[in-house]
């Protein structure tokens, strides 16, 4: 097992990794930018290294600084958390060269999954259902038009290097296609440095369903069931849950088997997530695989009892998975709300000093946060200040529990998304489990229409 792990991240996920390391008896090294000097992850790591100024590009995204920090502290592994360098094949490669274990999949796998068009091809070959579309980047307008006609409109144009909603365009008629491709290419070029885009079938109001997998270095892969993350705004997830009300036990088993086969086909190791769209008829289409810990991993931990971060570390250290697929059980229902420092109506970020911070306890409540009374939420990084996760015997209990937890959460000094989350939790469609990725669009329109009346809080 590792002696010392450097955590190349900040905020709640850095703390999450410290929890896991302490439980495993592993020392930790925090890295931090000058803006995070007083952060809890710095306080609770055994060692800490300042790696640069506040701007992420100069600190948390600075591979030489991270590697040097690992070298001068003698860390034998790096956990990248999520975001920042977590899907950097380059960091994983440098780690290999420097004999530091990268806690994540091999660089080739990260690179493969990072190329969305290539990943599609490989997944299709592995028997994973994918949306009909171009097998690679579009290089010819006529062929694109013919393909779109074969698939049937609407189609979506997507950047091969994409993510976060950039470089995407929905096309509903042939006349729009050429313009959409060009715009998407321009956006992709600007955002990712690669202009390549591909076309696939566009599914109206799908559910976002993702499967969590864990694979060790001995050929064992298990899945930990699905998460439903359909509540998104501009491709940012706001509420996640497990299990999804849309999946029967039979479908869960079937899809679980498919993702295990897919993971094995690419020799996937460590933790990963296979994201799917699910259409109104219950058909699944592979979207992409995330080669890292997900923000929403706690909902899976709550229903399975598996500590995913500890498993990541054990796997990276070469241990075998400590359980078999048949030993994975799913109990109750879990929901996560991502509490952001932002105006709940306008979504404008609200950094600043939190004067009062208090989250209630009680059964089935878990809080992941770096916030505390008298802490500063920095404007340099993303606005997530806390993840509140609840577990209940069933979905109605989980919803009731989340409501009372959010109602009794006190954050003074900055604005948070809690009032918006409470409105979502009280929405009849949400309560009925009628979810889709267009939920938020409808929800916000309804709210606008009602003239911002009837505040839930």
């Amino acid at each position: 097992m590792f002696k010392k792990i450097l955590i190349a991240n900040r905020g709640e996920v850095a703390l999450r990794v410290i929890f896991a390391c302490r439980e495993l008896g592993i020392k930790t090294v925090a890295v931090y930018s000058e803006a995070d000097e007083n952060s809890l992850h710095v306080r609770f790591a055994d060692e800490d290294v300042c790696i640069g100024p506040p701007r992420s590009a100069d600190s948390y995204l600075n591979v030489p600084a991270v590697i040097s920090a690992a070298e001068i502290t003698g860390a034998d592994a790096i956990h990248p958390g999520y975001g920042f360098l977590s899907e950097s094949a380059y960091l994983a490669e440098v780690c290999e060269a420097c004999h530091i274990r990268f806690i994540g999949p091999d660089p080739q796998v990260i690179r493969l999954m990072g190329d969305k068009a290539r990943a599609r091809r490989v997944m299709r070959k592995a028997g994973v259902p994918i949306l009909p579309g171009s097998d690679g980047p579009i290089d010819n307008e006529d062929r694109a038009l013919k393909l779109a006609k074969d698939i049937g409109y609407p189609v979506i144009v997507k950047a091969t290097a994409g993510g976060g909603g950039r470089g995407m365009r929905v096309v509903r008629a042939p006349a729009e296609l050429s313009h959409a491709v060009k715009t998407a290419q321009r956006e992709a070029e600007a955002a990712f440095g690669v202009a390549d885009v591909y076309i696939e079938k566009y599914v109206e109001s799908p559910r976002h369903i993702e499967f969590q997998v864990l694979g060790d270095h001995h050929g064992n892969v298990v899945h930990l069931g699905e998460r439903e993350c359909s509540i998104q705004r501009r491709h940012q997830k706001l509420v996640e849950e497990s299990p999804s009300v849309a999946l029967s036990e039979k479908v869960r088993r079937k899809m679980g088997g498919i993702v295990i086969d897919a993971a094995k086909a690419v020799q996937y190791t460590n933790a990963g997530t296979f994201e799917f769209l699910m259409d109104a008829d219950g058909r699944f289409y592979f979207m992409e695989a995330n080669t890292r810990l997900q923000v929403e991993h706690p909902v899976t931990e709550m229903v399975t009892g598996v500590d995913i971060v500890k498993e990541q570390i054990r796997i990276a250290a070469g241990e075998r998975l400590s359980f078999k697929q048949s030993e994975v059980t799913f109990t109750g229902h879990s929901i996560e709300c991502r509490i952001n420092a932002e105006d709940p109506d306008t979504f404008v970020p609200s950094p600043g000093v939190i004067h009062v911070f208090s989250v209630p306890g009680g059964p089935g409540v878990r809080v992941e946060t770096m916030a505390h009374s008298d802490c500063t939420i920095s404007p340099y990084y993303d606005s997530l200040i806390a993840k509140i996760i609840v577990h209940g015997r069933d979905r109605p209990e989980a919803i009731a529990r989340m409501r009372r937890t959010l109602e009794m959460t006190v954050v003074e000094g900055i604005k948070t998304s809690i009032p918006m989350h409470l409105r979502i939790l009280n929405d009849p469609d949400f309560v009925a489990g009628k979810l889709s990725t267009s939920f938020m669009e409808r929800f916000l329109k309804r709210r606008e229409a009602s003239g911002r009346l009837a505040e839930a809080v």
């Binding site: 000058e34 290294v49 300042c50 790696i51 640069g52 100024p53 100069d58 600190s59 030489p64 600084a65 590697i67 040097s68 920090a69 070298e71 001068i72 502290t73 440098v94 420097c98 004067h355 009062v356 003074e412």
Partner: protein, 164 residues
């Protein structure tokens, strides 16, 4: 009304530079007065806390560092003048600090060495690369904060140079 609310009100009073604030609301009455008489402050040696903040170092550029704890305003001023002549070289990267080009070789500089702008002061090894750190000032090395072979963080002080 709890203490937190009182604190918030007082913060508002300060923020808006009020001299008097009075509120009465639902059985609560709160009154605050502040003697912010500028004349007194100006004419009398009021017990003002003197906070001297040295110019904050932009990333990796030399910054002034105080050399003495000022005991009075006069001393503080002197100290400030003294400060301005000192430049602190901070580490622009994370790595291992070496004072000489290779083991056994002579150090690039010693305390008392005269250095010129552009002259190599030390090496910081990061990811197996040897990064030479140059002086941005002409002057004299008056302090070396780090031992040879010791790891340094971003922004850590390496040298103090008395500039000319």
């Amino acid at each position: 009304m709890d203490l937190d609310q009182i604190k918030q009100i007082l913060d508002l009073v300060r923020e808006h530079e009020l001299s008097e604030f009075e509120i009465e609301h639902e059985g609560l009455r709160l009154k605050v007065r502040k003697d912010a008489n500028g004349a007194h402050v100006a004419t009398l040696p009021a017990p003002v806390s003197a906070v001297i903040i040295p110019p904050v170092a932009a990333a990796a550029v030399p910054a002034a560092t105080p050399v003495a704890a000022p005991g009075s305003a006069a001393e503080a001023q002197e100290a400030a003048v003294a400060d301005m002549e000192l430049a602190v070289v901070k580490s622009p990267i994370v790595g291992t600090f070496y004072r000489s080009p290779e083991p056994g070789a002579a150090s690039f500089v010693e305390v008392g060495s005269t250095v010129k702008k552009g002259q190599v002061l030390c090496i910081i090894e990061a990811m197996k690369l040897m990064n030479e750190i140059d002086s941005e000032h002409d002057g004299e090395i008056v302090n070396i904060y780090v031992e040879n072979g010791q790891p340094v963080q971003y922004g850590e002080r390496l040298f103090a140079i008395r500039t000319r």
